[in-house]
């Protein structure tokens, strides 16, 4: 069974304007992807594309005015979005874990890290304090934290950025989840530390066979640590597939432009890159959301583009892509 299958997920921000008119920001517009156990999926896109919102939507962590207005998120066949709250609560932190951005602000500053690890374990499992402590020490050790027994007593402020990120990953793994979602796990860390953290994540997936989704804006991370990738633009996945396929033959014009903008492919003095602020989610154009920037756009782009299968699981949502 597919570990995670997200089907046509729609999330809107629904609020009232000053003149009491209802305003709808269409932040997610039909996000669909699948993630198999033992694989790493990279969800990439620029600011405002809806990467983090995809994670919070499917984990049921949205707060008003954001609301899921359509779609399904099947975790091992069960729809997370249709489940009663109590059942989702039992899954979250146990079978599905989220490693959020900014490690320093995501740890409880007034609790020693050992107690935080023990607390999350005992919230989901009937184990003794001593057993939970043993597991916590073991977990810190497996993440390469030196002198783990002593580190259990450390306060969050005493940790460097890399250490804090490891502790957050330890928290996410305490209950041996089957799905791990990591939102920008290495943003803000130095490159040598980034490599250590990503190595850890990859070893974990290879060793335990869990599925992982890495949300990132860094195509280098995707290129070297992910098996599959999904490219987001304006709340929809415009292209997805095996990493080598997508990099080798980027087919959606947005993906081609994005990959062409990486320092490795950029030719200074060559043709100029198309770039700009994220599109206005209150006034997305009909049809393809990228058509007002797309150099290849034509009249047919006002119609909703089809998902074109390019073989080997490589899919692009564009009128211009020939199958």
């Amino acid at each position: 069974m597919t570990l995670l299958s997200v089907e046509d997920l729609h999330t809107h921000f629904i609020s009232r304007d000053l003149d009491n008119q209802i305003r709808v920001a269409r932040a997610l517009n039909g996000v669909s992807f699948t993630l198999e156990a033992g694989r790493i999926l990279g969800l990439v896109g620029e600011t405002g594309a809806g990467k983090s919102l995809t994670a919070t939507s499917l984990m049921g962590l949205l707060r008003p005015p954001a609301r899921v207005v359509g779609g399904r998120a099947l975790f091992e066949g069960q729809d997370l979005l249709a489940m009663p709250e109590a059942q989702v609560n039992a899954l979250r932190g146990r079978d599905i874990s989220l490693v959020v951005q900014s490690p320093k602000s995501s740890l409880d500053p007034l609790t020693r890290i050992g107690d935080q690890l023990i607390r999350i374990h005992r919230a989901h499992r009937k184990v003794s304090e001593a057993a939970a402590r043993d597991r916590a020490v073991e977990m810190l050790a497996s993440l390469g934290i030196p002198d783990p027994a002593r580190r259990m007593a450390a306060w969050p402020y005493e940790l460097s950025g890399g250490m804090a990120q490891r502790v957050l990953i330890a928290l996410a793994l305490m209950n041996a989840p089957r799905l791990l979602i990591a939102d920008e796990p290495t943003t803000g860390l130095d490159v040598t530390v980034q490599a250590q953290i990503l190595d850890l994540l990859r070893d974990l997936v290879r060793r335990t066979g869990i599925g992982a989704m890495i949300i990132t804006h860094d195509l280098g991370v995707v290129a070297h640590y992910c098996d599959e990738m999904a490219v987001m633009y304006a709340g929809a996945i415009v292209e997805s597939g095996p990493v080598r396929e997508v990099f080798g033959q980027p087919s959606h014009p947005y993906t081609a432009n994005l990959i062409g903008a990486t320092p490795e492919r950029l030719r200074l003095g060559g043709p100029r890159t198309v770039g700009g602020p994220p599109p206005n989610l209150f006034r997305l154009p009909e049809g393809c959301a990228y058509r007002d920037r797309c150099p290849q756009a034509g009249p047919d782009c006002a119609q909703t583009p089809p998902d074109v299968a390019l073989g080997a699981g490589h899919i692009a949502r564009c009128h211009r892509v020939a199958a």
Binding site: D190, Q194, D218, T273, G275
Partner: protein, 329 residues
């Protein structure tokens, strides 16, 4: 050819709690030639930004010598620095906080002209329009406020301000780090054009190795406030000599799944700049360190007789500077 900027043995210390001292920059020497872009790379705490600010005298150096166009500006009083800044400009990382939110874009771009030239109001306005067009901003933005522009547009405003007085040197401190990939590409393209057109020298400070490789002529690699390697950009990436450069460059992830990674893993954490270890500052994490490394601080030396390529490592002379590779998972 006289270099635009010559820095000798620059040191900058900051006071820390309890009467201690943060050794942010410890004896850095380098030069930038006209039209040259020097990339400065290193991880957090390596002193990159401190050096950038010291060379244009936003910070007063603790020791050392800074020459700008041959003139010693190390101890120039603040009043004498001001006119100098028409010729040396800076672009900061965060364009949202670098611009006064209550001044319109047109006036922001014209501001350096007001400070440094005798142009009339209408001449300044014309010149601001030219500058806006040069950095590819539509002139209708000139009447807007910074909050109405995107990050990429604001960074273009900062660049327009920096080139307004036709400086000889621009220090760019992480100018693209807070921008999205496609926006970043546009800024890099603009910088390359400006360099080709005006021959302005640049000091490009960044932790993003891919960007630095693309835009720099030479690269200076820093570790704990000291230069560990100083070489032409291609050389640093193809054949890094210092063990730290090797580890740093191997940790860089090019956005290309076909690129083969040569992985080196560093143990331990960067020492505190308050209590610097004696000898080579990298010795505590260096896989090829010998007792000598902890005793004497190595100097920058030509690598195998190549004076363009310099590195500060004792073990290069004996050919023992290669750190072991780890198989890529």
């Amino acid at each position: 050819m006289t270099p635009i900027l010559q820095v000798e043995n620059l040191q900058k210390h900051f006071p820390a709690q309890g009467g201690r001292t943060v050794h942010a920059v410890n004896g850095v020497s380098f030069s930038i030639n006209p039209g040259e872009t020097l990339g400065v790379v290193g991880e957090s705490g390596s002193g990159k930004s401190t050096i950038g600010r010291a060379v244009i005298r936003l910070l007063k150096p603790t020791a050392g010598r800074i020459r700008f166009q041959g003139r010693d500006i190390t101890t120039l009083p603040e009043s004498a620095c001001r006119p100098l800044r028409a010729e040396m400009q800076m672009v900061f990382q965060d364009p949202w906080s670098a611009l006064n939110p209550r001044i319109r874009i047109g006036e922001l771009i014209a501001e350096p002209l007001l400070l440094h030239t005798k142009l009339s109001r209408s001449e300044r306005r014309d010149r601001a329009e030219q500058l806006a067009r040069r950095v590819r901003l539509t002139t209708e933005l000139l009447t807007r406020y910074p909050s109405e522009l995107s990050g990429g547009q604001l960074q273009r405003v900062c660049i327009a301000r920096a080139i307004a007085t036709q400086p000889k040197l621009i220090v760019l401190d992480e100018p693209t780090s807070s921008l999205d990939l496609s926006v970043r590409a546009g800024i890099l393209e603009l910088l390359a054009e400006l360099k080709a057109e005006t021959g302005v020298a640049m000091m490009f400070i960044s932790h993003d190795l891919g960007t630095v490789k693309l835009i720099s002529d030479r690269i200076m690699v820093l570790y704990l406030g000291g230069v560990v390697e100083y070489a032409p950009a291609a050389k640093v990436f193809a054949d890094p000599a210092h063990p730290y450069s090797q580890a740093l460059i191997s940790a860089h992830l090019p956005a290309d799944p076909e690129a083969v990674l040569r992985r080196h893993v560093l143990e331990g954490e960067i020492p505190s700049p308050i209590a610097l270890p004696p000898g080579c500052h990298f010795a505590s994490r260096c896989p090829v360190a010998v007792p000598d490394c902890r005793a004497t601080a190595p100097e920058l030396r030509a690598v195998h007789g190549d004076t363009a390529h310099q590195a500060a490592c004792l073990r290069i002379a004996e050919g023992a500077n290669r750190i072991p590779e780890v198989a890529d998972g």
